[in-house]
């Protein structure tokens, strides 16, 4: 198996006038958990559809296990376990029928593991898919994605609309997958605290552009959250070079920056402000600063 499981180069995709993906290049090394984050309509699902061969790359190239998912769907899809947000399973089938049906597509299907998962997820084999609760449907989808022990697990917004218990099952499945012989996971989510828990690497999409792609720890270590206290209350947002975002009112303002701490310290001194708190931001804070602070910032995103 190549060391890079997913290799996307200069992928651009337009739907009529909107650009869904704009020159996206991304590599996912084997054995990592890649968290794909971005707001609604950022291009996450469009990117995933290219990986699955559901969309053909018109500009740029997409390789999964070194293969083109469009021309070699068997070689690619046979090695991917996929769970989509809408979990569109055939409604009329029973749980055991769906398991038999899915098994036919995957030579690697592990009958014992499938039965274990069914027990663990408390799924009744005789129940029809259409009568399953939302959570049980998600678990059944997860079962069919996991039971052939895929080298690559792709989850598109797996936690969306699910309760905490089912979300824990999904996180545990992700962790078990990587802990197991270095298999690879790519999952998109808007629940950033979940992403922060389980991801090794982060790819951040915004308006179809890849604005950030890095190891999670490097990304978090590189950013700093500073709280500044001004001697005089500021009526409007203070101008602070190096800040990705700036929020607050009156005497106290909080900024998120990527490096530039010394620069900010100098700027703060000049404006008669002291740094009262310095801490590491969460992924959510970095995300908000990058995506929503970007338009207000005087320093463009640069990593």
């Amino acid at each position: 198996m190549p060391d890079t499981v997913i290799n996307v180069e200069h992928l651009t995709r337009r739907f009529r006038r909107t650009t869904a993906l704009d020159d996206v290049s991304l590599e996912v090394p084997a054995g990592t958990v890649m968290g794909l984050v971005g707001g609604n309509g950022a291009g996450k699902t469009t990117l995933i559809k290219h990986l699955l061969g559901l969309l053909k790359a018109k500009t740029g190239s997409v390789r999964v296990f070194g293969l083109d998912p469009v021309t070699d769907p068997v070689g690619v899809l046979g090695r991917i376990g996929y769970l989509s947000e809408d979990r569109d399973l055939p409604q009329w089938m029973r749980v055991d029928e769906l398991m038999q049906f899915t098994r036919a597509y995957f030579p690697q299907w592990d009958e014992t593991y499938a039965a274990q998962l069914r027990e663990m997820f408390d799924l009744d084999p005789k129940q029809r898919v259409k009568s399953l609760s939302r959570g049980q449907t998600a678990r059944l989808g997860l079962l069919t994605a996991l039971a052939h022990r895929p080298p690559l697990l792709v989850l598109d917004e797996p936690s969306s609309g699910l309760d905490a218990v089912v979300r824990r099952d999904i996180l545990a499945a992700i962790i078990r997958t990587v802990a197991d012989e270095g298999r690879t996971v790519l999952f998109s989510s808007h629940l950033l605290d979940e992403v922060e828990r389980v991801a090794d690497r982060i790819a951040m999409l915004h308006n179809g552009k890849l604005v950030l792609s890095d190891e999670l720890q490097t990304l978090l270590d590189g950013h700093t959250r500073l709280t500044l206290r001004f001697a005089e209350p500021c009526e409007s947002q203070p101008s602070l070079p190096g800040a990705l975002s700036c929020d607050g009112e009156g005497h106290e303002w909080t900024v998120i920056c990527n490096g530039h701490v010394a620069e900010l310290r100098t700027a703060a001194e000049k404006q008669d402000a002291t740094i009262v708190e310095e801490a590491k931001p969460s992924l959510e804070e970095v995300f908000v600063a990058r995506i929503h602070g970007g338009s207000r910032s005087d320093t463009p995103a640069n990593s």
């Binding site: 824990r168 545990a172 962790i175 990587v178 802990a179 605290d193 922060e196 959250r225 590491k280 969460s282």
Partner: protein
């Protein structure tokens, strides 16, 4: 060993694990020589990436809190390391700072506070004997 990760407390996850293991050893809930769960097991238990747990274990080993025995697993280091004493101080100082801040707000001076502390200690001693 119970570790609780809270995503919103502003401390990186590996650091939360490091702090909690240090706390557990400093407070005696993890005894010297006691074995810790393997990386993979703790990762599944607290639902974090296995590399994050591995990083926490590495830091704890460098700090002398844990030791790895090849093939056997990860254990709490033998003997009270100077760090765990430092760690005890850190935990106590945090509590003392809170106490001092409240005392100052109530205009209670340090002598009165020290007297109160001694009184409480005597009381606690009586209760135990």
């Amino acid at each position: 060993m119970q570790i609780h990760i809270s995503p919103h407390d502003g401390v990186p996850i590996y650091q939360q694990i490091v702090n909690q293991v240090k706390y557990l050893t400093a407070s005696g809930r993890l005894a010297a020589g006691e074995q810790l769960p393997p990386v993979r097991k703790l990762a599944e238990q607290v639902l974090v990436n296995p590399n994050t747990v591995a990083r926490a274990y590495r830091e704890l080993e460098q700090a002398g809190v844990l030791s790895t025995r090849r093939g056997a697993g990860v254990f709490v280091a033998e003997g009270v390391s100077p760090l765990s004493r430092r760690e005890q101080n850190r935990i106590l100082n945090e509590r003392l700072d809170q106490l001092l801040a409240e005392a100052r707000q109530m205009d209670v001076d340090i002598e009165t506070l020290a007297k109160l502390l001694r009184q409480r200690n005597t009381k606690m001693g009586d209760g135990n004997s």
